[in-house]
Every structure is written in structure tokens, then in C-alpha cells.
């Protein structure tokens, strides 16, 4: 099965072949590297830009205004902060111009912790991204969703911030991407650049087909009756693991709702699940102060207060200035499997 980096690469190949993507660029995005996580290896339209995040976003916006559908990368989301007013410009141009200028562009960037990236390679951006109104924000947790969300992002006439969980870039999926060879060794030989001299190498792409995950649609990745875990990105497989373990061990029936899109988010899916279980824990990597899920909790309280059996909970990162390098520091700061288990058990056990 393809990993997430390969899935994104295949989606971008499909995009440049079929969806009018003519410019894919960013820092080290073109050959020879093809992206620090190899998500742009072998693409025909990929190229290296100056190391200039503001320039990358601004250039993408200009290209979108000129009728292109660019896909650009900020090498790590930790570097996106100096481009925030450019993101705002991408997001507000359609509104500010009274609907006269659209900005069909995809801005992808690795996000979150889990690779021992310390202070500047571990950041999450979900909550800040959700405040840049007018921009759509997605974050896949599986290679198939990564493929389908990328195709939808490319097709969108809105700017889409595509958050790639760093820790999942090498994680393999459980589902084949349409057109992907079943043997992962064959896929590797076809689309992974060799080590060493790559100057003569060309990818041999499988015959891929369209597969879209609609923007704004969540997915129930594990059905359950007693508790809802609302999550996305890197924490989604952690929650899925916990739900399966609880089921296997008879500790409770846990539903996992993978948001996949943060803006717009699938409010109907959140409501439907919580209406069924009456108990909910929001799990994500962002810090707890002004966490995106706090908005969802407030809305739940506003709209479904009397349907909640126990208080809604948030399991999030600790609100410190960064993620420490030492594993003890990172594990303490970011939610781990044991933390999800503990909070899920508490939510299940609390008397209604």
C-alpha cells in the first residue's frame, strides 16, 4: 500500500495530467529532492523556488488570479508564520473584491509533531488556520484520504490549506488508491526516486483515476455507541487504535469521527455522532488555549446541551512555547495513546 507521501505525489501527478495544475513549487520541491518528505518527486511541473515563504504564497496567489491552479508548499508549517498576512490575502480576496476574484490554489505544508522535530519542526497550525476565514483547511490521516482530499483541493475554486501530518507521511494505508498497483514494491520501483544520481530518472506512473473526498465531509473510521472521539490528522490513527482496543477488551464502544476537513467542518456528522453517544472527547495536537475544538465544544453546548450525558472534553497539546526535543518533553507535551485511553475511559465511566 502507498504511504501518504506517495499518495500525495500520485494525486499531484493526476492533477497535472488531468486537472490543469501547471505549477507545483516551493523550497526543494523540484528535482533533485522532490520535497523534504518526497511528496513531489518525479512530477513534471515541480520546481524549486527561492527560500521565501512569503514569495511562495504571493506567487501562488498571483498565478491563481491569472487563471492557473498552482500547488505550492511551505516546507514545514513552522515556517508559515511569516506568511500569515499572505494567507489572509489569499482567503479574503474573493470577499474583498465582492466575488470578482477567485483564488484556486492549494497550499500544502507538513504539520504537527511526532518526528522529534523540536521547536521548529513540530508545530501545529490548525487553530490559527481556522481563523483565516475564506480559506478551506483539510488534514488527512490516511493515504487514500490524502489522495482524495488533494484532488478535491485542486478542483476547488477557493484557496485550500492542505495540512500534511509529518508523522504520517511514511505511514502506509489499508486501502488501495484507485490505479495503485497492489504490490508496494512495484509502486516503489515506479515512483520513488533512486538514491544517488537522479538526473536521468523519470517516474513511471500507474494509471490513476479520479477519487475525491469532498471538502467538509468527515468520516466515521470506527463506529461506536458509547463515546465519540472527534479527531483528525496524526491523532486519528491513535484514536482508531484506542477504539479498536476498547472494543477488543470490552472496555466500551467508541466511535471515531475523523474530521478530515477543519474548514468547513462537518457539523452534521459531529452532531449525529454525539446525539448517538452523548459523550465526546475532542483529540488533537494543537495547544489547549484557543484550540479549534473549543469552538466545536461551545457550539455543542449551545445546540445540544441537553443531549450531552457528561461534560465534553478536550485532549490537546500543552500550552507551552514549543515542543521540546527530548522524548520525555515531547511525549509530555503532546497527547499520547495512553492519554487518549485515560480520557476516553474517564468519559465512558462518568455517571450521566
Amino acid at each position: 500500500m502507498a504511504n501518504m507521501a506517495q499518495a500525495i505525489r500520485m494525486a499531484l501527478h493526476y492533477g497535472e495530467q488531468n486537472l490543469g495544475v501547471t505549477e507545483i513549487f516551493g523550497e526543494d520541491v523540484g528535482p533533485p529532492l522532490g520535497g523534504v518528505f518526497t511528496a513531489t518527486q518525479g512530477l513534471e511541473r515541480s520546481w524549486n523556488s527561492p527560500l521565501d515563504e512569503r514569495g511562495i504564497v504571493g506567487a501562488a496567489l498571483g498565478l491563481a488570479w491569472a487563471g492557473a491552479r498552482p500547488v505550492v508548499e511551505i516546507q514545514f508549517v513552522d515556517y508559515i508564520f511569516n506568511a500569515i498576512d499572505l494567507l489572509k490575502l489569499c482567503a479574503n480576496g474573493h470577499w474583498a473584491s465582492g466575488g470578482r476574484y477567485k483564488a484556486p490554489m492549494v497550499l500544502m505544508t507538513p504539520t504537527g509533531s511526532g518526528i522529534h522535530g523540536a521547536m521548529y519542526h513540530s508545530h501545529s497550525f490548525d487553530s490559527i488556520a481556522s481563523k483565516i476565514h475564506g480559506m478551506k483547511v483539510v488534514c488527512p490521516s490516511t493515504p487514500l484520504d490524502a489522495y482524495g482530499l488533494m484532488l478535491s483541493a485542486i478542483k476547488s475554486d477557493d484557496p485550500v490549506l492542505y495540512l500534511k501530518p509529518k508523522a504520517l507521511m511514511r505511514a502506509k494505508g489499508a486501502e488501495l488508491i484507485p490505479g495503485e498497483p497492489a504490490d508496494e514494491k512495484i509502486l516503489h520501483e515506479m515512483i520513488d526516486a533512486p538514491l544517488g544520481d537522479r538526473s536521468q530518472w523519470k517516474a513511471k506512473w500507474p494509471t490513476l483515476t479520479d477519487y475525491s473526498v469532498p471538502l467538509g465531509k468527515a468520516k466515521v473510521s470506527h463506529p461506536g455507541e458509547g463515546l465519540t472521539l472527534v479527531t483528525h490528522g496524526r491523532m486519528a490513527p491513535v484514536c482508531l487504535d484506542v477504539a479498536r482496543r476498547f472494543a477488543a477488551e470490552g472496555r466500551g464502544s467508541v466511535e471515531v469521527l475523523d474530521l478530515r476537513s477543519l474548514i468547513p467542518y462537518d457539523w452534521e456528522a459531529v452532531k449525529a455522532s454525539v446525539r448517538k453517544t452523548g459523550r465526546v472527547v475532542f483529540v488533537n495536537e494543537e495547544t489547549e488555549i484557543s484550540n479549534f475544538a473549543e469552538h466545536l465544544i461551545r457550539r455543542l453546548v449551545d445546540e445540544m446541551f441537553y443531549e450531552l450525558k457528561v461534560r465534553p472534553r478536550l485532549l490537546a497539546g500543552k500550552a507551552c512555547p514549543g515542543i521540546g526535543l527530548s522524548p520525555n518533553l515531547e511525549y509530555f507535551t503532546q497527547p499520547q495513546t495512553a492519554d487518549v485511553e485515560r480520557v476516553a475511559a474517564e468519559a465512558l465511566a462518568e455517571a450521566a
Binding site: 521565501d52 504571493g58 487563471g67 499572505l86 466575488g99 476574484y101 475554486d157 468547513p264
Partner: protein, 345 residues
């Protein structure tokens, strides 16, 4: 008419010709009267914040008339700042629409009552949305520049900004991206130097002798400084710059020294400042050369003033946007049904 001597034949005013000069004069007057009306609206409670370009009419009119107008990569793209009224008027924009934006009525075609005056967005003229930021236009210009570098066209991208904005990194990013060896970009990079950033004198913050000297860093990018208060000198400098970029598909940095006749904005009072007036200078140049007579020029002021009066009267009758219209254009494909719209409460 004075006798034709070799000196008078070489006079750039005569080479440009009376018809073109009167067209330039008319647009300059129209832009000045429009800006003065916008200032009055701001001061009189018929609008809010004012920011604009009185004092830049000579350079900006010469600029606007030389744009290859239209939509798409085969026409010039403009990434402008908020002192560009004379440019868009020269390209055919109507004063009434700026008045609509000043009054923030629903019919404001540039922002539907959402943005400050002089913040244009005109897709049919490739005028991309103007932002109140002073520097981001130098970055979006890179994108349309790339699109035009890829296309087989003589169309170019033009970006303008003020002297103060050149302290921002985005200006320098534009220079770097436009001069990449692998893909030079056809961008005319314009800096209108009015000597001030809000209330701060440029001379106290910038050590460059000329802002155009930044071009010297790049071997293949010409740089030039022109007297932007001189309509004819501006015309010729722009003609050279446009010609270079169109033909060579490479960037050009042009600095125009201009007056700022009403200060930074309404935040600094928007009162007349005794600096060189480019319209008075042009009128003197035209009448002293017998290229126009004073009554003819005065009539332009009367006609344009009456047109502004009429436009303002019309706009005063137009409705303001309803509050609920804020939900339109949030996303290109409409607002999802479950998008939060209550504001809490």
C-alpha cells in the same frame, strides 16, 4: 504657433503632440477632482477613511495610458497600491464607482461596500484586488509574472508601491524572483517616491540615494529615477520601461519622484500641502508652448467638476448593503449550510 526650430522640434512636448497632452491633462484633472471630492466626502461624513493619490496624476496618467488593457495573460496585469486612481481612470474606470466605494454603497463594484476607497478590483482590466498592506502586491506580481513568462505574449505585469514599502522584504523578494536565472519575469516594478511613509520622512529612514539603485544589484535589470511630477518626462520614462519589459521579458525598476499634495490620508488631516502641483506645471508648459489656451484648460475643470457633482448626486440615492450580505463571497462555492453564522450568543 511659434516658428519651428530644431530646438522646438526636439521638444518632447511637441513630439508627444497636443492631442495626447490634452488627453493626459483631462485625465489628470478628472483624477484630481475625484480625489478632492473623496476627501470632502470623508470630512463631511459621507464616507469614512480616505487614502488616495493627489499629486501623482502626471506619472499615473502616463502609466495608465500605456497599459495594454484587457483580461487574461495576453493583457497587462496590474498590482497596484491605493494611490492609483489616475491609473485606473486612464484605463477607463468611472469616477462614480470610486465615489460608490467611498460611500460604501451596495453598488460599489470593487468591494460591495467592504473596503476603503481606492481599493480597486477590476478583473476585466486585470487590476487585481488592492490591499491596504503596503507591500504584498510585490509578491502577487510574481505570480502573474510567471504566468506571462510562460505564455507567448508581449503582455507584462506592473506593480507599484510607495517609497516606504520598499523597506519591507516583499519588495526585495520581488526583485529576487523577477531576476531568477531560470525564469526571468516580465515585471515593471514601479516605486512612487513621495518622500514620506505616513508621517516619517523617507530621508530619515532610507540611506539609498535612489530607490532605483537597488537595480544595480542585478546585472540585467535596468533602473531609473524620473521626475514623476513631469507628465512628459514620465511618459517617456514609462515608454522606455514598458518597451524594455515587453521586448526582453525581463524586469525593470522605475522610481518616480512625486508630490503628496494632501498628506498620507484622512488620518493626517488630508489638507493641501504646498508642494509642486503637476497639473499646474503641465498647464504652464502647454500654454507657454501654445499647445493649449488657458480657457480650453479651464473648461476641462468645469466639465469634469460637473460630472463629479452629478455622479455624487446619483450615489447619494443608492442603498447601502444589507448586513446579511457579509455571508456572500466567503467561499467561491457558497456558504455550507452548517457554517456558524450566529456569532455565538
Amino acid at each position: 504657433m511659434p516658428p519651428k526650430t530644431s530646438a522646438s522640434a526636439a521638444d518632447p512636448y511637441r513630439k508627444l503632440g497636443a492631442a495626447r497632452l490634452l488627453q493626459i491633462h483631462e485625465n489628470m484633472v478628472r483624477a484630481r477632482l475625484l480625489e478632492e471630492r473623496l476627501i470632502k466626502m470623508s470630512k463631511g461624513g459621507d464616507g469614512f477613511f480616505w487614502i488616495g493619490g493627489p499629486g501623482e496624476e502626471a506619472f499615473n496618467t502616463a502609466f495608465g495610458f500605456q497599459v495594454k488593457k484587457g483580461h487574461g495573460v495576453d493583457c497587462d496585469f496590474l498590482h497596484l497600491h491605493y494611490r492609483s486612481s489616475a491609473i485606473v481612470l486612464a484605463m477607463g474606470a468611472k469616477p462614480i464607482d470610486a465615489i460608490r466605494q467611498m460611500r460604501s454603497v451596495a453598488a460599489d463594484p470593487y468591494s460591495r461596500g467592504r473596503n476603503f476607497v481606492n481599493h480597486y478590483a477590476i478583473p476585466e482590466l486585470n487590476v487585481v484586488p488592492i490591499s491596504p498592506t503596503i507591500e504584498t502586491q510585490y509578491l502577487t506580481a510574481i505570480g502573474t509574472g510567471i504566468a506571462q513568462a510562460r505564455a507567448k505574449t508581449d503582455a507584462v505585469t506592473i506593480v507599484n508601491g510607495g517609497d516606504a514599502g520598499t523597506a519591507e522584504g516583499d519588495f526585495h523578494s520581488c526583485l529576487v524572483w523577477a531576476n531568477r536565472a531560470v525564469l526571468p519575469l516580465p515585471i515593471l516594478i514601479v516605486v512612487v517616491n513621495n518622500g514620506y511613509g505616513i508621517s516619517t520622512a523617507c530621508s530619515t529612514q532610507h540611506g539609498e540615494k535612489n530607490i532605483s539603485d537597488w537595480a544595480k544589484v542585478f546585472p540585467d535589470m535596468p533602473g531609473k529615477t524620473v521626475d514623476g511630477n513631469d507628465a512628459v518626462a514620465s511618459w517617456l520614462a514609462l515608454e522606455e520601461a514598458f518597451g524594455y519589459v515587453r521586448k526582453n521579458r525581463r524586469p525593470y525598476l522605475l522610481e518616480a519622484r512625486c508630490s503628496r499634495l494632501y498628506g498620507h490620508s484622512s488620518s493626517s488631516g488630508a489638507n493641501r500641502i504646498p508642494e509642486t502641483d503637476c497639473i499646474a506645471d503641465l498647464e504652464d508648459a502647454l500654454t507657454s508652448r501654445d499647445l493649449a489656451r488657458k480657457p480650453t484648460l479651464l473648461k476641462v475643470w468645469d466639465v469634469e467638476s460637473a460630472a463629479i457633482d452629478e455622479a455624487h448626486r446619483r450615489v447619494k440615492q443608492e442603498p447601502f448593503p444589507a448586513g446579511e450580505t457579509v455571508w456572500e463571497n466567503v467561499f467561491a462555492d457558497g456558504l455550507p449550510p452548517s457554517y456558524p453564522t450566529s456569532g455565538g450568543g
